[in-house]
């Protein structure tokens, strides 16, 4: 398994260099989960495909059963499509779910069905018992892009935000309509790492903070080194990642989590391929700019 991971990593690293040199588009290479997963995608598919119908749940009045079932099946079949919603603060939960679907898709599917059917569920040592406000809101979020028709994702993200609390959530402990866009759902860096440690079967080596960049020497070299060890999640300032010099005041704070899939450098140009918002993106930036946007580097390795 390790050999396969090394091979795919070498392909990921060298292919963009060759492509850039030849001036041809870089093809997307399927990203292989580098560790032995807790459960396989085939097991999860067999499980979800064995469920053909769901009855309405009294715990989740806003969720349409057929849509819920379709959503869980889609997520298990195509984990790339996990979408945290436009304008929400769910991106940390989205990144976590994307990793969870690679590590333990069967556990994810079972957990979601248990939550739907019983209104509460446990996963490892964690016991989810969502608040009545969250139960009422799931399935009713609108104007969030494709999240509008993904009630299972709405339920799951709301449950995560309701259960895990960090200092950013201190003043907003209870969900009110619209709080998916507010500090109620915000994920600070320590909270993100804590969620990953608790929900995934991995160790997390984290460098960085909410307000200060990590002192890791050369940021590119450090990230490239960590990519060889495990899965790397970057905590970045998205307002800079999507460059915008139109603003008078640009806040130097991180706001977004991305799962890094490849990083290469040619001269001063760094090419990143990362997962966020339901798909993979290729972005070319300068080395100094990479240092500027990265506030957290989390490396996940199998326990």
């Amino acid at each position: 398994m390790k050999g396969r991971w090394m091979k795919s990593f070498l392909v990921l690293c060298t292919q963009p260099l060759v492509s850039i040199a030849l001036g041809i588009p870089i093809p997307c290479i399927p990203y292989g989960y580098p560790f032995t997963p807790t459960s396989t995608q085939q097991e999860a598919i067999a499980f979800v495909d064995s469920i053909s119908e769901l009855s309405p749940s009294s715990y989740w009045p806003g969720i349409k059963p057929a849509l819920f079932l379709k959503n869980v099946k889609t997520n298990v079949h195509e984990p790339l499509g996990i979408y945290p919603g436009r304008g929400t603060n769910f991106c940390g939960y989205g990144a976590l779910t994307y990793l969870m679907l690679q590590d333990d898709p069967l556990g994810y599917a079972r957990l979601l069905f248990q939550l739907y059917l019983e209104g509460k569920a446990s996963y490892g040592n964690i016991f989810f018992e969502p608040s009545p406000e969250v139960k009422a809101a799931a399935g009713t979020l609108r104007s969030k892009g494709v999240l509008d028709i993904h009630p299972a994702e709405q339920m799951w993200f709301l449950c995560l935000a309701d259960h895990f609390k960090g200092y950013l959530n201190f003043f907003q402990r209870t969900y009110h309509p619209g709080d998916e866009d507010s500090f109620w759902a915000a994920v600070n860096y320590a909270k993100f790492n804590s969620m990953v440690r608790q929900l995934l079967h991995v160790n997390v080596n984290a460098r960085g903070a909410d307000l200060f960049r990590p002192s890791v020497g050369n940021t590119f070299n450090y990230i490239a080194k960590k990519m060889r060890e495990g899965i790397v999640v970057l905590y970045v300032n998205n307002r800079i990642l999507h460059k915008n010099k139109l603003e008078k005041i640009k806040l130097q704070i991180p706001t977004h989590y991305i799962i890094l899939e490849s990083i290469t450098r040619v001269k001063d140009t760094v090419t990143l391929i990362y997962w966020d918002y339901g798909g993979k993106t290729l972005r070319q930036i300068r080395s100094d700019f990479l240092h500027k946007i990265v506030f957290g580097i989390s490396c996940c390795t199998k326990k």
Binding site: P25, R86, G87, K243, G279
Partner: protein, 202 residues
């Protein structure tokens, strides 16, 4: 005496600036009608190009010389920054089968009205997918130094929309629920075009 008068004038100017900055910006659909022709050209050019190849285009600098081109393919979204006069822009457009003549035309229209971003958004009504075109403009004239909300946002729909008596965009006719996009309430210009003022251009 002279010092007193100077201090008085400085005080009056300060108060005026503060009052202006706190008053908010009164922009109505007037902006749309003043620039209707170019705005509609941005929308129609983008819509045509988008049908050939999904993409979004943003200006990222104050002088409107640098564009960020986001090209969406089945497997990857590519984001590149270019100077608008760079040859690489056309080469990249050609590589991804994006009509470069049309793209340059769109860039020209956008620059002429300080349009910062044009994108296609999906939205869902009764679980049915629809799309709208989202255009952000950074007006140079009507924003005060201390105002927060400063982008003029227009949304173009393919179908006529529903509005409440105050002209606010509704999610559906029966629900009477406002449809907010990026947390903002939108107001009617005509049946298919709405506007709002926002602090963020995307």
């Amino acid at each position: 005496m002279r010092n007193k008068r100077t201090a008085y004038i400085v005080f009056l100017i300060s108060v005026s600036v503060l009052l202006f900055s706190c008053s908010g910006i009164k922009i109505t659909s007037q902006y749309y009608f003043e620039h209707e022709k170019v705005l509609d050209q941005v929308e129609s050019t983008y819509r045509t190009l988008y049908q050939g190849k999904p993409f979004s285009l943003a200006f990222t600098d104050k002088l409107f010389r640098t564009v960020s081109l986001e090209i969406i393919t089945d497997t990857l979204t590519y984001i590149y920054d270019f100077n608008v006069e760079e040859k690489r822009l056309n080469d990249t457009a050609a590589k991804y089968h994006l009509d470069s003549a049309g793209l340059n035309k769109l860039i020209g229209y956008m620059r002429s009205i300080h349009c910062t971003w044009v994108n296609n958004f999906d939205y869902y009504v009764d679980e049915k997918k629809n799309s709208l075109i989202f255009i952000s403009i950074k007006p140079v004239l009507f924003h005060s130094a201390f105002s927060y909300k400063k982008y003029y946002i227009l949304t173009y729909y393919s179908q006529p929309q529903h509005f409440d008596p105050q002209g606010r965009l509704l999610d559906k006719r029966k629900m009477r629920k406002l449809r907010k996009i990026n947390g903002e309430i939108f107001y009617r210009i005509n049946d298919k075009v709405c506007y709002t003022i926002s602090g963020l251009f995307r």
